[in-house]
C-alpha cells in the first residue's frame, strides 16, 4: 500500500517535471521564429517609419528630424499622385477581371467536362512563373509594332498598349489627369493572365465543398441549372470572393516586378506604381527618407485591408 502510494506520487512528480521541461522546449522551438519576426518585421517597420520622418535624402545618412516633410512632398508630387491613381485603377481592373474570369472558368469546369484536369493545368501553370518572366514575354506580345497588333490590324485597330499615354475618361485633379491610363490595360492583361489561376483554384475548391444534395434538392424543386447557380451556389461562394479580393488587392497594392520588367514607369508615369517609385528613388536616387515614406504609405494601404481580414479569418478558425 505504502509502496504503491510512493510509486504513484513519484510517477506524478516526474510527469509534472517532464511537463514543465516540455513547456520549456516548446518555448525554445518558437523562440527563433518569434524573435526574427519581432525584429525583422515589426522592428524594421518601426525603423522605416522613423527614416520616413528624417532628412536622409542623400547617400550619407542624415537622421535629423524632418517631421512630415517627406509625406507633404509626396502627396504634392506629380509622380506620386500619378502612382496613387494608377494603383487605384489597376487594382479595380485587375481584381474585377481575375474574379470574372476565375469564376466563369470554375463554373464551366464544374459541368462534368471531359479533360477537366488538362484545362485546369493550363489555367494554373502561369502561377508557377515569375512576374519577371511574365513581364518579359508580355512586353513582346503587346509590343505595338508587332505582337497581337499583327492580328488586330486586319480589323483596322492598332492599340498602342503600354506605350499609350492617354488617360481614359480623364479630368484634371491636383497635378494629374485623373482617370484610367490606357497603358495600364496592357499591364492588367499580363497580370490577369498570371493570377487568374489563383481565383480559379479558390472557386473550384469552393464549388467542390458544396454537397451534391444541395443541388439535387434545388433540382427537385424545379429550379433550372441557371437558377441553381444564381440562387443556390453563387451565394455560397461569397466568402471565397471576399478572400480572393483581399489577396489580390494586397498583391496589386505592392506590385513591383511585373511593371518594372514589362514597362517601367512609362511616359508621363502612366504605368508607374508606388513599388517602382520607391525602388527608383531609394536605390537609384538615394532619397532614402522619401523612399521610406512611400513604403509606409504602401504598408498602410495594405494594412487597411489585411488587418481586419486576418482578425476575422483567425476568429472564424478558432
Amino acid at each position: 500500500m505504502e509502496a504503491a502510494r510512493t510509486e504513484q506520487s513519484a510517477a506524478g512528480k516526474s510527469s509534472v517535471k517532464r511537463g514543465s521541461s516540455d513547456r520549456w522546449m516548446a518555448l525554445l522551438f518558437l523562440l527563433p521564429s518569434f524573435l526574427l519576426i519581432v525584429i525583422f518585421v515589426y522592428g524594421f517597420i518601426g525603423w522605416t517609419g522613423y527614416v520616413s520622418l528624417t532628412n536622409w535624402n542623400s547617400l550619407v545618412p542624415d537622421m535629423s528630424f524632418a517631421g512630415l516633410k517627406n509625406y507633404v512632398f509626396l502627396f504634392s508630387d506629380f509622380r506620386f499622385q500619378a502612382d496613387l491613381r494608377n494603383t487605384l485603377f489597376f487594382t479595380i481592373l485587375f481584381i474585377g477581371l481575375v474574379i470574372l474570369l476565375g469564376l466563369s472558368l470554375a463554373i464551366l469546369l464544374d459541368q462534368k467536362i471531359k479533360g477537366e484536369s488538362i484545362f485546369r493545368n493550363i489555367f494554373f501553370f502561369p502561377m508557377a512563373l515569375s512576374f519577371v518572366v511574365t513581364g518579359v514575354v508580355w512586353q513582346w506580345i503587346l509590343n505595338p509594332s508587332t505582337g497581337v497588333n499583327l492580328f488586330l490590324q486586319t480589323f483596322g485597330i492598332q492599340p498602342k498598349w503600354y506605350t499609350d499615354t492617354n488617360i481614359l475618361a480623364g479630368f484634371q485633379w491636383g497635378q494629374i489627369e485623373f482617370g484610367l491610363p490606357a497603358a495600364l490595360i496592357a499591364v492588367g492583361l499580363a497580370a490577369v493572365w498570371q493570377m487568374t489561376g489563383f481565383s480559379l483554384a479558390m472557386y473550384i475548391a469552393g464549388l467542390r465543398a458544396i454537397p451534391d444534395e444541395t443541388r439535387e434538392a434545388a433540382r427537385m424543386d424545379g429550379a433550372t441549372e441557371f437558377q441553381i447557380y444564381r440562387h443556390v451556389i453563387l451565394p455560397q461562394l461569397h466568402p471565397i470572393t471576399v478572400s480572393v479580393i483581399i489577396i489580390m488587392a494586397h498583391i496589386s497594392l505592392k506590385i513591383f516586378d511585373l511593371i518594372y520588367s514589362m514597362t517601367g514607369p512609362g511616359a508621363n508615369f502612366v504605368t508607374d506604381v508606388p513599388g517602382v517609385y520607391m525602388f527608383e528613388t531609394t536605390f537609384r536616387g538615394n532619397y532614402y527618407a522619401n523612399g521610406a515614406a512611400i513604403a509606409i504609405v504602401m504598408l498602410l494601404s495594405v494594412a487597411v485591408f489585411m488587418v481586419p481580414y486576418l482578425i476575422n479569418s483567425r476568429k472564424g478558425a478558432s
Binding site: P32, L36, G43, N121, I122, F123, I141, G147, Y260, S313
Partner: protein
Amino acid sequence: MVLRGVAKPASYLILIAASLFFLMPVYVMVITSLKPLDEITLDQMWTWPSAIDVSSYSEAFTKLAPNLMNSFYLVVPATLLSALLGAMSGYVLSKWRFKGSEVLFTLMLFGMFIPYQSILIPLIQFLREIGLYNSIPGLIFVHVVYGIPITTLMFRNFYVNIPDEMIESAKIDGANFLGIFRHIMVPLSLSGFVVVAIWQFTNIWNEFLFAVTITTAEQQPVMVALQNLSGSQIVQWNVQMAGALLAALPTLLVYILLGKYFVRGLLAGSVKG
C-alpha cells in the same frame, strides 16, 4: 434538356478559347527562341521558324548559367531552413498552445502580407553591418526570415489535423516534446513538407525585389539577370525568350511533376486556420 445540349459544346468552345489565351505566351516564347536573329522581324512574330536554330539557347545559357547556379545555391538552403523553422513554430502553435499563442500567430501571419519595401531600408543597413550584403548567404537569410509566416501557417494547418488523442497517448507512453515531434508529427506530415518545400522553392526562385536590391552583378539570382538581358541596347528577342524559358524551367518542371502539391500551397496562402 435542349439548353443542356447547346450548353455543353459552348462550354468546350469557351474553355478551348481560354486555353489558347493561356498557352499563347508559351507558343510565342518557344517559336521566338528557336528562330535565328534575322527572322526576328516584327511582321514574322507568329510564324513558325523556317529552320530550328538553338543558338539563342546557347547564348542565353552562357549569359545566365552563373546566375542559374546562384539561384540554386539560394533556393535549396533557404527552402529547407524556412521549412524547418516553420515546422518548429507550427508544431508549438498547434499542439502546445499557451495563453496568447493565437494572438502571436496572427501577429506572425501579418508578416507575409507586408510590402517588403517597408522593411527594405533597415534590412540593407543590417546586412551591410553584419557583412552579408551582396552575398547569397545574405539572400538566404532574408528568405528564411520572411518565409517564416507562410511556412508556420502551412505546418500549423497540417498539424492541427493530427488528432490530439495521438499526442495524449504518446505522452502517456512517456514520449516528450521532441519525441512526439520526431516520431509522430514529422512522419505524419511528410506530404505537408512537400507542399511547403514546393511553395518556398517556387516563390524564392521567382522573387525579384530582394534579389535586385540586395545583390549586384556576380551574386545575382537568375530573375535579375533575365531582367538585365532586356536592359541592353539592342533587344535580341530570341535570346530573351530563350532566357525566359531557361529561367522559368525549374519551377515549371516542379509544377508539371508535382502540380497537385503546388495548388495545395496556393490555397493555403489565403489564411484560414
